[in-house]
């Protein structure tokens, strides 16, 4: 590392735009969203300043105070104090403050200043501040704080120009370090008030829009109603917009597969291409639009600032099942994927609350389940309109999400019972201003999700699908065999072996077999089923069609419930191990989910069989 590399840390209150600024400076694509607790790790990036100097930038979790309460806040405190293992204290701290929220943010600025390190203050969100008619006397603020102050707009191209120029210049002198004790902490508030009176004019303390929207969004009756409608519409839209596109892609791949196959000589290779690649992978790829539509809504909701409102409305409910409102956001991220959700629990202060959240996060319906749900719903649930507007398929999908949530609540409730300690949990959650999501950010977010999906598809899912094809094709049946060739393959043997375990919950050998690769990535179940049925020659007219002919409605419902609860994803278990540093928690997590999935599927299968 050259001597001229400057090491810079971004610190500030939660949700003031540190990550947006980090992305702006480094060209990075870290996750930005409108609520506290998005960034829970230290993230490093670098860029070359106009002077040619290399700047290394650290993005840190937001914190209200160095009196750290949660694991993510401790990271920030330790990095700033130079106590973070393997990392020297930063050469320069960029303290970011929301210009519309200085009463809160300036106190932390003063706290950072007392560390006795060089600090530059970035007054962010200047666009919103101007819109709201907030006037800040920057030279006076600079004089009173004794720190260089620059204005930034982290979400606008070129909005950090002044900051880059300032950082590229000479490193400002550090203020003398000051001790941290109760009396001086109390004094910080008095200083903030004095500075505000002298430098800031606010026409209104809050944004008029926030007041108007919150009157409805947080209303005891309308608020809950709005929340229910929002959630429900998302799932209807996933169906209305995603499904036709999916069918188009699925159909396109089937057609393409047939034409490519026609160009190839018959034999194992042709079978690999048509059955494994076009059949297996093509079927999974078909579900990309469904996933993208879901993410479109997640991204818009995240940026709008509505999610913490939802957490406010549901806090009491979460508390009754032993969780905290703070669990809401990690659990919500788990709808995308349990892995970021489990990492997001770092913003939960209480270790036991955190563990409870980690254990139930995998029950939230992650996007990898969506292809499986969509496949089975498409095959077994008729398209019918309830009350003329609600698509029955959308309703079933919504119910599956509910099944996951209710299961999680039940588990939370049981854990609360088992847990002897009844100590208090804090909520203390800031509600951010509403913001209009920017089309460009949503498009970038969708692109990233799409890229992740395609990477999984061409990596682990492709590999497993080829493997499934291999074991379904070889060994070839012995001479004089009478049954279908696949019965003599490895797949046939393994599947029938597994069926002993899964027959009571209504799975045939093909499904039992597909559960194995699903453990690496759930979507693979779809590709594996497609491959197995295609190789077996039973899947003409698409996988959905084949399934509808091969398994009963009872089995299909059982399989849906199985996917809602089963411990299916290896990466999730690995993250639980990493985040809790304990194999015991991994075992508990796997064990209870397996038991719950088996029991629920058993009940559903047996009941459905009696009724149908």
């Amino acid at each position: 590392m050259s001597a001229s590399t400057l090491r810079i840390a971004l610190v500030g209150n939660p949700n003031c735009g540190k990550t947006a600024l980090f992305n702006q400076l480094t060209g990075g694509r870290q996750k930005v969203a409108n609520y506290a607790g998005v960034t829970v790790e230290r993230k490093e990036g670098r860029f070359t300043a106009p002077s040619g100097r290399v700047l290394q930038i650290l993005d840190l979790p937001g914190t209200y105070s160095f009196e750290a309460n949660s694991p993510d806040e401790q990271i920030t405190r330790d990095v700033c104090a130079g106590n973070y293992p393997g990392e020297a204290a930063p050469d320069l701290i960029i303290c970011v403050a929301d210009a519309t929220n200085l009463r809160l943010h300036l106190r932390f600025v003063l706290e950072v200043k007392r560390l006795g390190r060089p600090v530059v203050l970035a007054l962010n969100m200047m666009d919103t501040a101007r819109q709201r008619g907030i006037v800040i006397d920057v030279p006076e603020l600079q004089r009173r704080l004794g720190l260089p102050v620059v204005e930034t707009i982290a979400v606008k191209r070129g909005g950090a120009k002044a900051l880059i120029e300032r950082v590229d210049g000479e490193v400002p002198a550090a203020a003398p370090a000051q001790p941290d004790d109760a009396a001086s902490r109390a004094d910080l508030h008095a200083q903030v008030r004095d500075i505000l009176t002298a430098t800031v004019t606010m026409p209104r303390t809050t944004a008029a829009l926030d007041d108007a929207l919150d009157r409805w969004a947080l209303h005891p009756v309308f608020g809950l109603l709005i929340l229910a409608v929002v959630m429900f519409l998302v799932f209807q839209a996933v169906y209305a917009a995603g499904k036709p596109m999916s069918d188009l892609i699925g159909g396109g791949f089937g057609w393409l597969g047939e034409h490519v196959a026609a160009l190839m000589p018959a034999g194992p290779l042709q079978s690999l291409v048509t059955n494994g690649l076009f059949g297996g992978i093509g079927t999974v790829l078909g579900f990309l639009p469904v996933i993208l539509v879901l993410f479109f809504f997640i991204l818009v909701l995240e940026e709008s600032g509505y999610l913490p409102r939802a957490a406010f409305l549901l806090d009491r409910l979460m508390l009754s099942v032993g969780l905290t409102g703070r669990s809401f956001i990690p659990l919500l991220s788990s709808f995308a994927c349990a892995i970021p959700g489990i990492m997001g629990t770092r913003s939960i202060q209480d270790p036991r609350d955190r563990l409870a959240t980690i254990l139930i996060a995998p029950l939230m319906t992650c996007s990898a389940r969506l292809p499986v749900y969509a496949l089975l719903i498409g095959a077994f649930i008729p398209i019918r309109y309830v009350f003329g507007v609600f698509n029955l398929q959308g309703i079933v999908l919504f119910s599956l999400y509910l099944v996951g949530i209710l299961g999680a609540m039940a588990v939370g409730w049981v854990m609360k019972r088992i847990r002897r300690d009844k100590s208090e949990h804090a909520l203390l959650m800031e509600l951010p201003s509403y913001r209009m999501p920017k089309l460009r950010d949503v498009v970038i977010g969708l692109y990233e999700r799409g890229a992740i999906f395609l990477k999984r598809l061409t990596g682990v899912i492709l590999g497993l699908t080829v493997l499934m094809w291999f074991i379904s094709t070889f060994p070839s049946p012995p001479a004089g065999a009478t049954g279908p060739a696949i019965n003599y393959s490895f797949a046939g043997y393994i599947g029938r072996g597994l069926q002993y375990i899964f027959a009571p919950i209504g799975f045939n050998w093909q499904i039992s077999l597909a559960l194995i690769p699903a453990f690496a990535a759930r979507e693979t179940a779809v590709a594996a089923l497609a491959t197995v049925y295609l190789v077996g020659g039973e899947a003409s007219g698409g996988l959905g069609h084949a399934l509808a002919g091969q398994i009963s409605l009872a089995s299909a419902l059982s399989l849906l419930v199985w996917f809602a609860y089963a411990p299916q994803c290896m990466s999730t278990l690995a993250v639980i191990r990493r985040e809790t540093n304990s194999w015991r928690n991994v075992t508990i997590s796997f064990g209870y989910m397996f038991g719950m999935a088996y029991a629920a599927s058993f009940i559903v299968y047996q009941v459905a069989r009696m009724l149908t």
């Binding site: 105070s65 809160l104 106190r107």
Partner: protein, 81 residues
Amino acid sequence: MRLSELPKGAPAVVDRVHDAHAADPIAQRLRDLGFVDGEPVRVVAIGPMGGDPVLIQIGYTRFALRRAEAARVSVRSEVAA
């Protein structure tokens, strides 16, 4: 009066934050967030289930607090200040 008892919309100012037990981290965090003597506060919304949590406007910020957290803050009505 405690902040948890303050009616919705009534203007008040913070008196002080009480520790629920020795070295109460929640109380310390409340002080850091601006719940200090003389700071104006207002209850802007109340949770739909059992009136919990409450949404508090302090400074330019809104915080959702559980009743147990709000009960740590004593307030007085603005006229008395």
